[in-house]
């Protein structure tokens, strides 16, 4: 049983994410959002409750997609997103950024790469954490 390390569970093993072709084309099938419509206003980042914890800001994630930089799939940000919809609701370009984050996660997950490792939880925690959290986690982080 893995011991709890400071800051939460250990990260999963090294990922080997393969995307051939343009990132935007992969995304299109998953989320039909006009990513190029973004005019980098910063509203999404300004309203994200977890911005402080992320390595890339929300608008940087979109910019990576626009510039076709696949490193975005290795960022912490897309996994820290809690799908709270604050960015999507406030975006003046009406871009559903929540769906874009989900699509980026799905690109990774559908390559059979899981982003969760539960062995670091104690039995007590497994009992007391509400089931809905587990169900959501599995839905979001397992391919």
């Amino acid at each position: 049983m893995a011991t709890e390390t400071e800051g939460g569970c250990q990260d999963s093993a090294d990922k080997h994410i393969v995307v051939s072709g343009k990132l935007i084309d992969e995304l299109e099938g998953l989320c039909e959002e006009d990513v190029f419509g973004c005019y980098q206003c910063g509203t999404c980042a300004a309203g994200c409750p977890f911005m402080d914890e992320m390595d890339l800001t929300v608008d940087e994630v979109l910019r990576y997609v626009i510039l076709d930089k696949k490193e975005v799939l290795e960022s912490k940000t897309i996994w820290l997103c809690a799908s709270c919809f604050a960015c999507a609701e406030r975006c003046p370009r009406d871009i559903n950024i929540t769906k874009i984050m989900e699509a980026l996660r799905q690109i990774v997950l559908r390559q059979n790469i899981d982003e969760t490792d539960l062995e670091c939880l104690t039995d007590e925690e497994k009992r007391s954490i509400p089931q809905m959290a587990f169900v959501s986690l599995f839905r979001k982080n397992i391919g």
Binding site: G29, P49, E53, M132
Partner: protein
């Protein structure tokens, strides 16, 4: 009236106290909550990819079973269940092709005929009971109790399934006033608690709980009122853990609106305060809304 009740997983385990207090409140208001005969996991969280219909099956099946029972409404207590069921209902009404695909796939179930509406218990209180009626039934007003309402995201976003105005909701504030308590308005009430991140990012969730709760403390709020079992865990439990991360930080109590309702309606019962990381009992006794029990300080 009889309400068709959809529990969801957590209401039967970690959030039993939410269910029990809600049931007692419903009864006191002259309604009964009848659990659905056949229900499954609501399918949280709502599917966000365009090509993914599979994850709409679970929520849709629940809607079908409501129709099977001859009911046109499902009442839920869990915010995430409410949100997920509503999103699927919205999706199939917007895209009838998808509904057909889903109905065809579920060849062992009846077809969903789009006759069911999903209602969160808060909506029921506002629209079917009404604040005036509720106020009349309050025998133990929560005078002098300063309550900070907390919605989280699931009740208000995305806009299509919101139960109130997404930027200026007032349903909780109205409820608090009907109970005779004071509202501590605040700008964090619609911000995310961290949701399922609580499993793998415990400290991040603790930090979030602290940010949300600190605002309440600075404005002399006595407790935070909310409706979602995951929000409650995150702010209560992770908030208590934040006391270890931040010197001098003390988490204030977190309560379900149904527990407060039960107390205000003068109902007898154990509302499960033992399951809280921060026991609200001392505070409630101090405010005089709970009788001082023997053996308490």
């Amino acid at each position: 009236m009889e309400l068709l009740y959809y529990p969801g997983c957590t209401l039967k385990t970690s959030a039993v106290n939410l269910e029990e207090s809600a049931f007692a409140v419903a009864e006191a208001l002259g309604h009964s909550m009848i659990e659905m005969e056949e229900w499954n996991c609501c399918g949280v969280s709502a599917s966000l990819t365009e090509d993914d219909l599979m994850h709409h099956l679970a929520p849709l099946r629940n809607l079908v079973h409501a129709e099977d029972q001859g009911m046109d409404r499902i009442v839920t207590l869990c915010d995430m269940c409410s949100n997920t069921l509503k999103q699927t209902d919205y999706r199939v009404r917007e895209r009838e092709d998808d509904l057909k695909t889903l109905n065809d796939f579920m060849d062992q179930e009846n077809d969903y005929r789009m006759t069911v509406s999903v209602q969160h218990f808060l909506e029921f209180l506002r629209d079917d009971v009404g604040w005036k009626t509720l106020k009349k039934k309050v025998v133990n007003p929560l005078k002098g109790v300063r309550i900070m309402p907390y919605y989280g995201c699931m009740l208000l976003r995305p806009r299509e399934v919101a139960i109130d105005d997404a930027e200026e909701p007032r349903i909780m504030a109205d409820l608090i006033k009907a109970l005779g308590a004071e509202v501590v308005d605040n700008p964090y009430k619609i911000e995310c608690c961290g949701s399922y991140k609580t499993i793998e990012e415990k400290e991040m969730t603790s930090r979030r709980a602290k940010t949300i709760s600190t605002y309440a403390v600075e404005r002399d709020a006595d407790l935070i009122m909310l409706s979602c079992p995951l929000c409650k865990y995150n702010i209560d439990q992770r908030g208590k853990e934040a006391e270890l991360l931040f010197d001098g930080y003390s988490q204030i109590p977190v309560m379900y609106y149904t527990q407060l309702l039960a107390i205000a309606l003068g109902l007898e019962g154990d509302w499960g305060f033992g399951a809280h990381a921060v026991d609200p009992t001392p505070l409630l006794e101090e405010k005089g809304v709970l009788p001082i029990s023997e053996g308490s300080t």
